[in-house]
């Protein structure tokens, strides 16, 4: 049973993800913004963090970098949720990102395909076990 931390400020999407992940057998904790996310990551040591990019205050990029800098949280896999293709014209998956600038392990586009989300989470969990 893996521990998943969702860091996203959209309450409805968070609820849908929680339901879906719990049905799959994961244990889910929630955080509504970047600071809360950092605190819960350090305290709970989840296996995977699902991180939204657009959040008030600390945005997803900053949280990801902070997580990788902190020795306590460095090994947590990060799955980033992006709708940024529209806002920035940047397709993360196709064009690839410098891992130093954006140290995440995988991406998922919004609107979410929940089956794809589950698949990616499973992949990250399996990868960690190895």
């Amino acid at each position: 049973m893996s521990k998943i931390l969702i860091v996203d400020d959209d309450a409805d999407i968070v609820e849908a993800m929680r339901l879906v992940l719990e049905k799959r057998g994961h244990k889910v904790t929630l955080a509504a913004d970047g600071n809360e996310g950092m605190a819960k990551a350090r305290a709970g040591k989840p296996d995977v963090i699902i991180l939204d990019v657009m959040m008030p205050g600390l945005d997803g990029f900053e949280v990801a970098r902070e997580l990788k800098r902190d020795s306590q949280t460095r090994n947590i896999s990060i799955l980033m949720l992006t709708a940024i293709k529209d806002k920035m014209g940047f397709d993360f998956q196709k064009e690839g990102v410098d891992p130093n600038w954006l140290p995440v392990d995988d991406y998922c586009d919004k609107p979410l395909d929940y089956e794809l989300l589950l698949e990616k989470v499973d992949q990250l969990v399996r990868h960690k076990k190895n």
């Binding site: 959209d10 409805d12 339901l19 529209d86 919004k110 929940y114």
Partner: protein, 444 residues
């Protein structure tokens, strides 16, 4: 405070008008020569033709010089220099006219009226102050000639033999004519500059109005962008919440629940497609710079063919590709060109029934890429055709066939082609098919 673009238009207009003046002068020179010939040969007026022809030659020489100078300066932004040249040209014109009048009868020659044309031209090209100065110069020239000849300081080249009366010796006459003449000059100067400044004002306010409109359009587009993003976020949330329920993640559903939920997700997906298209065209409208790069047309076409090919086969339609060999790379924004072509091909797919044929023809010549997409689909009615590229416009038969459609596919394609300085055209016959052709420069 005038904006930079305003200055450029005013400058460009001045250059154009001064250029027009040099061209006008050629006609005037021809007129002078014709008049001298006609008067001396045909009407047998007694004239000293030699000084007159010499002045005509002088006019031709300096107009040639000015024409060359104007062409040389046409590219550059030298407003002050152009204005000075305009002043100089009119100054010389007035001087030449004065000499012509002096050598052909002075006050006896009614052609002194032509001084007025120069003042009118000055009023259009130059400021009021400059025009009044030139009017004063003309007044001085004319007065010097007619009074000088009247007093005997200047030789009078009479038109005697044609006209019996020695008007030039009559002081009252000379004074009267001088008064009328000088007053005409000043009135012409005032009138022309008034009209001219009113025209310039109007030009300036039109330019400003246009700039304001462009700015408003840009603000509107940014607003559309923001609203669309917000709408998309909410729609995405709807979709994310409903889809798991629909797929049974939260428990099994009965038929009626499945039924209504399917409809709900279908509609939210459709809205997302619609908003994506709206975002696309709005972003295109706001893009000022384009990230150009060189890319292989052949590779791009190959990718497009792969994606369209399988879609076409799905409903037993033939998809044929005719690509000339040796098509070079082109410079542009690859994803945009890809999108334009895909939009056009997807239209063909949508509106071509089972068993139909879609042809993609790709050619190039020295500097252009030409692409043509022809289908044997249902075609576009003739009265819908002129508006087919308009945003959100859908032809009647398209709406009847597919209730859902953004009406933006062709608009986006057109915008993309035009951003690459290309041209797009469409031909269609109802019931027979449609052909869309694109022409894009290979390198801008």
């Amino acid at each position: 405070m005038k904006s930079i673009s305003e200055d450029n238009t005013v400058e460009k207009k001045l250059i154009d008008r001064v250029y027009w003046l040099t061209r006008l002068r050629w006609i005037a020179i021809l007129g002078v020569v014709a008049t001298i010939l006609t008067a001396s040969r045909f009407f047998r007026v007694s004239l000293e033709v030699r000084p007159l022809y010499s002045i005509a030659v002088f006019l031709a020489i300096y107009n040639g010089l000015f024409s060359w100078l104007m062409r040389h300066l046409q590219g550059r932004q030298m407003y002050g220099v152009i204005k000075a040249l305009a002043n100089l040209q009119i100054f010389l014109d007035l001087t030449c006219l004065a000499f012509l009048i002096h050598f052909s009868g002075g006050v006896e020659n009614p052609f002194y009226f032509y001084f007025i044309f120069h003042i009118i031209i000055a009023g259009i090209l130059l400021s009021r102050r400059e025009t009044v100065i030139l009017a004063t110069y003309a007044a001085i020239l004319f007065s010097a000639i007619v009074l000088g000849e009247q007093r005997g300081f200047l030789h009078h080249y009479s038109l005697l033999g044609t006209f019996a009366v020695s008007l030039h010796e009559n002081f009252t006459y000379v004074l009267g004519v001088s008064f009328v003449f000088v007053s005409t000059l000043y009135i012409a100067a005032y009138l022309t500059t008034s009209i001219s400044s009113r025209l310039h004002e109007r030009e300036r306010s039109l330019t400003k109005a246009n700039e304001l409109l462009a700015e408003k359009d840009r603000i509107k587009s940014e607003y559309v962008l923001r609203v669309s993003h917000d709408l998309k976020e909410d729609l995405a949330a709807v979709h994310t919440c409903v889809e798991p329920v629909q797929k049974g993640v939260t428990g099994s559903l009965n038929e009626e629940q499945m039924n209504l939920l399917s409809r709900a997700t279908g509609r939210s997906k459709q809205l997302i497609v619609y908003i994506d298209a709206l975002l696309e065209i709005t972003k295109l409208k706001l893009t000022e710079k384009m990230e150009m790069s060189s890319f292989s047309v052949v590779d791009l076409i190959r990718e497009i063919v792969e994606s369209i090919g399988s879609m076409a086969q799905h409903e037993r339609r033939t998809f044929e590709v005719q690509m000339d060999p040796g098509i070079p790379s082109m410079k542009g924004v690859r994803i945009y060109i890809q999108e334009a072509l895909l939009n056009i091909l997807k239209n063909s797919l949508k509106y071509t029934p089972e068993g139909g044929k879609i042809t993609l023809r790709v050619q190039s010549d020295r500097s252009w890429l030409r692409v043509q997409v022809t289908d044997t689909g249902m075609g576009i009615p003739a009265d819908d055709l002129p508006q087919i590229f308009t945003e959100f416009y859908r032809a009647k038969n398209a709406k009847a066939l597919l209730k859902k459609g953004t009406g933006l596919g062709l608009s986006i394609a057109k915008k993309i082609v035009e951003m690459h300085h290309g041209k797009i055209g469409i031909e269609s016959r109802l019931g027979q098919g449609t052909s869309v052709s694109l022409e894009i420069p290979l390198d801008l």
